[in-house]
């Protein structure tokens, strides 16, 4: 029977993929994303952190793109291309981990707030709402400034300030799911809190969660770059710190457009890829949107 299950899963995935494939933008986002992630993962096979070492810069300072340095060099003669490549690891790592953190907090609190109707839910909701209205960038800025800007603290700062919208979404979904008659049926069958939360609510919010996490990664990457730009991040090379570098080293006034444009465009491309993917996932996976489209 398990093989049947497997075939079923495969078919379900096939159907999902068929739906997803129809979103051309989503697919192109996925492709960009896939390329970015794969490149980031295989980077250590080709280069190491050495490319971000100022001493090892081989080119001239702020040299325009050439055969040796296809995307030009930075203020220390390091190849912008290689730094972008290596820096993608930090940017993506921060994006993913911050989104993961925010998703975990958001999911747990969101489900709890939706599931427990009494004061537990009310208190969680209050706290969520409170966090929700905190201007998140400003709060992240303060947190990063206070905790010091290591990669871990940046992740925490972003994660801790961005979960409320996830929690809100999950709570709304939880409420929607719990209003469905099958919850009533499950209760009538004798189900408890844990059963309802894990068997019914979680699987039903999971797809949306996936979509919203994808969007969350996008905004985490942007936030990281903003924090880096505002100088609270003492990070290893990331796209944000590269932009900060280009700013500090006067790339703009020196006409080193490659140094400003490339990291920025990378951010835009990857963030957009995540966004497109997330939106496509949302339309494919969100039953409400799906029926609208039908």
């Amino acid at each position: 029977m398990s093989s049947v299950v497997w075939v079923r899963r495969k078919r379900a995935f096939g159907k999902f993929w068929n739906d997803f494939r129809k979103h051309r933008a989503g697919v192109s986002g996925l492709v960009i994303l896939g390329v970015a992630v794969v490149l980031a993962l295989i980077a250590p096979l080709f280069i190491d952190a050495g490319v971000t070492n100022v001493v090892s810069g081989t080119g001239a300072k702020l040299a325009p793109p050439s055969l040796d340095h296809p995307l030009g060099t930075d203020e220390s003669g390091r190849s912008v291309l290689l730094m972008i490549w290596w820096g993608s690891r930090t940017s993506l790592l921060i994006g993913f981990l911050a989104a993961l953190l925010s998703m975990v907090i958001g999911t747990v609190l969101g489900i709890a707030a939706g599931h427990f109707r009494g004061w537990t839910g009310a208190v969680i909701l209050r706290v969520t709402d409170w966090f929700l209205v905190l201007p998140s960038l400003v709060t992240a800025l303060v947190l990063a400034a206070i905790l010091g800007g290591s990669t871990a603290t940046i992740i925490v700062a972003i994660g801790v300030t961005s979960w409320p919208s996830t929690a809100r979404l999950i709570r709304a979904q939880t409420l929607a799911v719990e209003a469905r008659p099958y919850i009533e049926r499950s209760l009538a069958l004798g189900a408890g809190h844990w059963h309802i939360a894990t068997r019914h609510v979680l699987p039903n919010v999971a797809p949306l969660l996936l979509a919203s996490t994808t969007l969350e990664v996008a905004s985490a990457i942007v936030t990281e770059s903003t924090l880096a730009f505002l100088g609270v991040s003492a990070n290893k090379t990331s796209w944000g710190t590269m932009l900060r570098g280009s700013y500090d080293w006067g790339a703009a006034t020196a006409g080193a457009w490659w140094y400003i444009l490339v990291p920025g465009l990378c951010i835009v491309a990857v963030v957009m890829a995540f966004t497109l993917c997330g939106r496509a996932l949302e339309t494919v996976l969100n039953p409400r949107l799906r029926t609208r489209e039908a």
């Binding site: 709402d129 409170w130 998140s136 709060t139 303060v142 206070i146 703009a252 006034t253 400003i260």
Partner: protein, 340 residues
């Protein structure tokens, strides 16, 4: 039924709004209280000795440092400092800036105007443009207008504010190639700002780029939100009814779809104000706009303990207040919840 019955039925509704507003206000007060408490402890976590940081490498004797510490009330035990802080905050006294040696409230007061001008203008433009375009896009999803709008907003949404600001500065203030740098490089007005209308123009000219930056990023969100909100309405039966009545397509959209779609957006519009404020920090830094964001950023860089605390408090509290207002406004606007 007679009209007395109607009054009977409406009385509790009005009562309901008041009660709702009161509940919301209570909630907001609670939130503000939480912010105040959280702020205090958050800033006590700051590494380093604020007084030493203040000295900024200038040489100070231990006596001087003690003096300074006493002046800032940092020599007292934490609970006492806490009580003092609460009392002070409740008296709307945000303390004295370490760096500027002036009451934080004064410093904020001097800069809040320019921030309001910038963010207010940006918000008005972003909201009106975003909502208008979102409504049109959502009305005919898949149309060319929709595709272009969505594409633009997705790109803008993905662009880091500061980067966009820098690019705009480099292109339109510095000038590149054939593009003349017609916009100023800094500030909210010229040093020799003329009086009268010319002065208004001067400020306007200074505002173009920072405003554009803020608008670009924020409006995309409004557009997307409004778009999906309108798409939600398009399938509704009352829209079909309106069309069946013989209304023109535009009228159906304007009179039926948009007013309904606007309701859920109200809350989101306000919710995003926090985002505008966040964006203002970077935009003000890039365009040297003399506002709160810049003050806050400076406070973080110094770091100026009280100033950071005060601006953070103010920003947060104002966002909370705005959100509460939004809730109440929503309540007034939507007849369904109004009398519920």
């Amino acid at each position: 039924m007679s009209s007395t019955v109607e009054e009977l039925e409406q009385a509790p509704a009005r009562h309901g709004l008041l009660r709702y507003a009161a509940t919301k206000a209570g909630g907001a007060l609670l939130s503000i209280a939480m912010v105040i408490v959280a702020t205090f402890f958050l800033f006590r976590l700051l590494p380093g000795d604020p007084v030493r940081a203040l000295a900024q490498g200038r040489n100070m004797t231990p006596e001087q440092l003690d003096l300074e510490r006493a002046r800032l009330g940092l020599d007292k035990p934490v609970p006492e400092q806490f009580l003092h802080f609460i009392g002070q905050t409740l008296r709307l006294d945000l303390g004295v800036s370490y760096e500027y040696k002036r009451p934080v409230l004064d410093l904020i007061g001097e800069r809040i105007g320019s921030t309001l001008l910038l963010t207010g203008t940006a918000l008005v433009i972003a909201v009106s443009l975003g909502l208008w375009q979102g409504a049109r896009a959502g009305w005919k999803p898949g149309s060319r207008f929709d595709k272009i709008s969505t594409a633009i907003s997705l790109v803008l949404w993905s662009v880091p504010t500061f980067w966009l600001g820098l690019l705009l500065l480099m292109v339109f203030a510095a000038g590149i190639g054939p593009i003349p740098g017609i916009f100023p490089t800094r500030g909210s007005s010229s040093v020799d700002k003329p009086d009268g209308f010319a002065g208004v123009l001067d400020v306007g000219q200074h505002m173009v780029l920072p405003c554009l930056t803020l608008v670009a990023v924020v409006y995309a969100q409004y557009l997307l939100v409004m778009r999906s909100s309108v798409i939600d309405e398009v399938g509704q039966d009352y829209i079909t009814t309106a069309r069946a009545k013989g209304l023109r397509d535009d009228d159906v959209r304007r009179r039926h779809a948009v007013p309904n779609a606007l309701l859920p957006t109200v809350t989101l519009v306000f919710m995003r104000i926090g985002f505008v404020v966040g964006g203002a920090v970077t935009v003000e830094a890039i365009f040297s706009w003399p506002g709160l964001g810049q003050l806050f950023y400076e406070a973080i860089r110094v770091p100026d303990f009280t100033l950071m605390q005060g601006t953070f408090l103010l920003i947060t509290v104002s966002v909370i207040v705005m959100n509460t207002l939004a809730d109440v406004v929503y309540h007034v606007l939507d007849p369904r919840v109004r009398s519920a």
